[in-house]
Structures are given as structure tokens and as C-alpha cells.
């Protein structure tokens, strides 16, 4: 019994050592949960035509993406915001090279019950007040009499940076009115669905029947709906590039994969996932 165990481990260790000069090249990727579906799906497709390449993908958020590229632990980072100057300062020896592979919008998303009750448009100022804690009940916005469940995100998440930059003019603004702090788009979507009076910030690909995106009322009075055409035309105020970042210019297999992402096939994955292609 013990001999069998020892043999197994020995086999694994031997095989793992002998592969250091193997044919399999590994590309490691980590970062934003918004960009993750594109990269995951692209990786699966890419592996069908390049079976000797291994692509390992991890989530964690845009902050993790920057950190991992900065500390040279991954080949490609996925970010859905700009790299802050503070982050650049933490990694002075790294040359961050970014490449946009798609476009996305961050939508103020609310529970469908509130949306169906009539609140379909919000001004940036109203959203800011909600996150600051100055508006606490949907009735103040002519909605049902329910306390607003304000869902915030972890501070380094790309979605948050972009949202806060537009809504509060400060990408790392505090949100004193927040009730919950969650992580990925997945978690946020889950919490929005579980509640019937919530507001959160979601990437456009995560809207569904229970989570509706509000239109934003611009200062000149026109509500801009979060539709694809508005986003492509740049009318929707909270948009961002979905970016991948590498240390220096990408070379070799990494470059091949990035080229694949920018190819028509790769871009169709971007649109299949609900985002806007870069062209």
C-alpha cells in the first residue's frame, strides 16, 4: 500500500522534472473578472488549434492582474481600467505594455423589481449620492419604499475604478453609503439577484432578466440607455477598454495568442460574450 503510494508520487515527480525542456509552452494569465470570460473562451478555442500550448487563467481582479505582471509571475495581465501611477511606481523596472482587445461599459445595475417599478433612469449625481449615503431609500427617487442595498466592489477592481471615476470624479473614491463589498462581476450579479432593492456596478455582459441596467441621464436631459449601439457610438458615459498588459512587448507564443485575440475569430469571441469588439 505504502509502496504503491511512493511509486505514484515518484512517477509524478519524475515526469514533472523531465518536462522542463518539453514541447509544451505555458502561458499564464491573471486579472480582471470582466476580461476573464473572453480570455477563457479564447484559450479553449486556441488550444484546439495549438494543442501543445497550455494556457492557465486566473481571476482576482484588475489589481491582481497588475500585481502579477509587475512581480513577473504571469505572462499576461487582464485589466479593465488604466494602471494607476501608484502601481507603476511600485514596479519601476517593469515596462507595462497594454493592448486593448475589446470595449465594455460599466452599467449602474439595479434589481429588476426596482426597474419594473419605474426607475429606469438615474443621473450621475443621484448615483453619487446613493454611494455617498445621502440617498438611502428608493422612495426618494420616486420608487418603492425600500432601503437601497448599495453594493460596492473591492477597491482595486477595474470595474470600480471606471465607475467611480465617472460618477464621483475620483477613481479611488470612498463610498460611505455602501452596504456590501464584493469581488468579481459574478459575485456582484449574484447579490443583485438575491436582493430586490439593490444597486451595483456591473459590466454590460452580466445584465440579465433579474439585473437590469439603468439608463444614465446626462446633464442635457437625454437618458442614454445601456444599449450596444450607444456604447459603440460612445454615447454612454461610463465606458472602458478591456485591456491585456504584458511586461514589455509580447514575444513568441504570448504574441501569437494576443494576435489571435485581435483576429476576427478572437474578436467574435469578444462580441459573443456580450462586449464590443475593438474595431
Amino acid at each position: 500500500m505504502k509502496h504503491l503510494l511512493l511509486l505514484c508520487v515518484f512517477a509524478i515527480l519524475v515526469s514533472s522534472c523531465s518536462n522542463s525542456s518539453s514541447n509544451t509552452k505555458t502561458i499564464t494569465i491573471a486579472g480582471s473578472s470582466t476580461v476573464l470570460p473572453i480570455i477563457s473562451n479564447a484559450a479553449e478555442l486556441y488550444k484546439e488549434t495549438h494543442p501543445d500550448i497550455k494556457i492557465i487563467v486566473n481571476a482576482g481582479g484588475s489589481g491582481v492582474g497588475v500585481n502579477q505582471v509587475g512581480s513577473q509571475k504571469v505572462n499576461i495581465g487582464m485589466i479593465s481600467r488604466d494602471i494607476t501611477s501608484k502601481e507603476k511606481g511600485l514596479y519601476p523596472s517593469i515596462l507595462f505594455k497594454t493592448q486593448a482587445i475589446g470595449k465594455d461599459a460599466v452599467i449602474p445595475a439595479i434589481s429588476s423589481e426596482i426597474y419594473d417599478a419605474g426607475i429606469t433612469t438615474l443621473t450621475l449625481e443621484q448615483i453619487a449620492k446613493i454611494y455617498k449615503g445621502e440617498i438611502t431609500n428608493w422612495s426618494a427617487l420616486q420608487g418603492p419604499n425600500k432601503d437601497i442595498l448599495v453594493i460596492d466592489k473591492e477597491k482595486s477592481r477595474g470595474t470600480r475604478h471606471v465607475f467611480m471615476a465617472t460618477v464621483m470624479n475620483n477613481k479611488e473614491a470612498d463610498a460611505p453609503g455602501a452596504d456590501l463589498v464584493l469581488g468579481s462581476n459574478n459575485e456582484e450579479q449574484t447579490a443583485l439577484v438575491q436582493s430586490d432593492a439593490a444597486i451595483g456596478m456591473l459590466s454590460m455582459a452580466w445584465l440579465n432578466n433579474d439585473v437590469k441596467g439603468t439608463s444614465i441621464q446626462t446633464p442635457n436631459g437625454e437618458p442614454v440607455a445601456p444599449t450596444l449601439s450607444n456604447i459603440i457610438e460612445g454615447k454612454f458615459p461610463i465606458t472602458r477598454d478591456l485591456t491585456i498588459v504584458t511586461n514589455g512587448n509580447p514575444t513568441g507564443e504570448v504574441k501569437n495568442f494576443i494576435d489571435f485575440l485581435l483576429s476576427p475569430q478572437g474578436q467574435s469571441i469578444v462580441t459573443d460574450n456580450g462586449y464590443v469588439s475593438i474595431k
Partner: protein, 289 residues
């Protein structure tokens, strides 16, 4: 030849122990040295309320409060239930039944914490939200409930051992005096076992303090002390949940990372003190011979 074997044998045994010692010391050294930055630069400001890494504010009070509250809730729920169940298994069941129940409890104590987290997210957060009519079920209370489930088997098993190990002549003498089971348990058995029961509760406390996964998913992760402070039906934050969520995001070597390290060390030291106290406690002489 056998003398050589003897030397090799001794060498192997010593080496293992040295590895063990070295690893433990290494853990402490690595963690404490990484906390140095934060302690040096933030110092006593660690004990403030606001946590905002981008403006270099690292106040951990809300996390401490959350950890203490959630653990307290868990103990309040699990202790009476656990001791009662232990009374049942040690005094009121046959020995076969007792072994069966204890084995089941051991199995249940081994359920991984992530599964408790999953059950909490899928069921308890929605139940708490609808029962108490809250906007969200991710609260200190929900986390406390799940924690109590996790420590319940531990409390039951250890208290049962404590009660079972009391020599039979105590309960028999009391029965001979005409005492009812309630009186025997309350006036004779519980006081004798009280030390061991206290030890069991401390051990459960230690486990609850260090629990990460279930709490992280269920607590809402908001760095605030609820307002009013006794409102456990609102979201909050514990040390373990904060660590779980932010360690990956903070850059290694930054002040943010160091601050996270510091609160981790704080928790570690607390849990180790509790663990060592219980172990020493259990070794002390019993009140009976």
C-alpha cells in the same frame, strides 16, 4: 553496522525535529518581519476605524469587532446546544449508541469549511433576509450561525468526553441519595467537568476565530461597525475575511500588504495563545483522583 544504523536513526529523528522547529520559527519570522513596516509607519493608527489603502489609512477596528462579534454569536448558539447534547450522549444513551453518535459527529466535524460557505450562500443568507426582512442576508448573524454549525461537533465531542470520564461512583452516590437526574447533572457532574468543558469551549473559540472561507462568503465584507453596534443583522468584516479578499490584490512589499500581515499576525498570536492554554489546561490534574 548496527551502530551505524543507530547513528543514522538518531540523525533521522533529530533531523525531523529540527525541520519541524525550523519551519515553525520560519513562519513566525516571515510573518512578523513583514508586519514591521506597518507597525513602524502606521503604529497605533492601526486601531482606528477607517481602512482605505489608497490614502494609507489602515484602521482595523471594524475587523476586530467583526471577528469578536461573529465568534461570540457562534459560541452563544453552539455552547448550550453542545453541552446539552453532550449531557444526552454521556448520561442518557447506551454505550453503543454513544459510539455511534460520536463517530457520526467526528465525520461531521470533518466537513470542509467551503461547503459550509456554499450552504450558507445558497440557503441561509436568503432565509435570514426573508425572516428578518433585510435587504441582504449577508450579515454578521448569518456568518455566526454557520460558524456555530462548524464548532458544534467539537463542543459536543469534547464535553461528552469530559462528562463521560467522571468516575461512576459520583453519579451513583448521588442517585443513592435520591437526587433526580437534573440535580445530579447540575450539582455534581457539571461542576466536576467544568474545567474540561471550559477547555472545550476555548478550543472551539480558537477554531471559530481562524475560520476563513465560510465567513468570507457570508459576511458582506464591508469595513464598518454596524450602527448601532449591536445590530448583528447588518454586514460587517472579520480579520480572516479581509485577509482572504485583499491579500491577492495588495502588492507584495507595499504598506498595504504589511498592514494585512499585521492583522494576520494579531489573529495568529491570539489563536495560538488560546490553543496552548487549552492544551496546558487539559493536562492539569482533575478535581477527582
Amino acid at each position: 553496522m548496527s551502530v551505524l544504523n543507530n547513528k543514522i536513526g538518531k540523525g533521522y529523528v533529530l533531523l525531523s525535529t529540527y525541520i519541524c522547529v525550523a519551519v515553525t520559527l520560519l513562519i513566525f519570522i516571515v510573518l512578523f518581519s513583514n508586519s514591521y513596516d506597518a507597525l513602524h509607519q502606521v503604529g497605533l493608527n492601526l486601531f482606528t476605524l477607517e481602512w482605505n489603502p489608497s490614502s494609507n489609512k489602515f484602521g482595523v477596528l471594524s475587523m476586530l469587532y467583526g471577528t469578536i462579534t461573529v465568534t461570540f454569536i457562534a459560541l452563544i448558539i453552539a455552547t448550550p446546544l453542545g453541552i446539552s447534547a453532550a449531557i444526552f450522549t454521556s448520561q442518557m444513551t447506551s454505550s453503543k449508541g454513544r459510539i455511534l453518535i460520536k463517530s457520526t459527529l467526528e465525520l461531521l466535524a470533518s466537513i470542509p469549511s467551503i461547503i459550509y460557505g456554499l450552504i450558507g450562500i445558497a440557503f441561509f443568507s436568503t432565509w435570514v433576509a426573508s425572516i428578518f426582512d433585510l435587504s441582504t442576508g449577508r450579515t454578521l448573524f448569518t456568518a455566526g450561525i454557520l460558524l456555530s454549525f462548524m464548532i458544534l461537533p467539537t463542543i459536543i465531542t469534547l464535553c461528552d468526553d469530559a462528562l463521560h470520564n467522571i468516575p461512576k461512583h459520583y453519579s451513583e452516590a448521588s442517585k443513592g441519595l435520591g437526587m433526580y437526574p437534573y440535580e445530579i447533572i447540575k450539582n455534581v457532574l457539571l461542576p466536576i467537568a467544568s474545567r474540561d468543558i471550559a477547555g472545550a469551549i476555548l478550543l472551539a473559540l480558537g477554531r471559530a476565530l481562524g475560520e476563513t472561507m465560510a465567513v468570507m462568503l457570508l459576511i458582506g465584507s464591508i469595513d464598518k461597525i454596524p450602527d448601532p453596534f449591536y445590530n448583528i443583522l447588518s454586514p460587517g468584516q472579520t480579520i480572516t475575511s479581509k485577509l482572504g479578499r485583499e491579500i491577492g490584490e495588495s502588492a507584495f512589499g507595499s504598506l498595504h500588504f504589511s498592514a494585512l500581515n499585521t492583522i494576520g499576525c494579531l489573529l495568529m498570536v491570539l489563536v495560538i495563545i488560546i490553543t496552548i492554554t487549552t492544551q496546558v489546561h487539559f493536562k492539569k490534574e482533575r478535581l477527582y483522583e
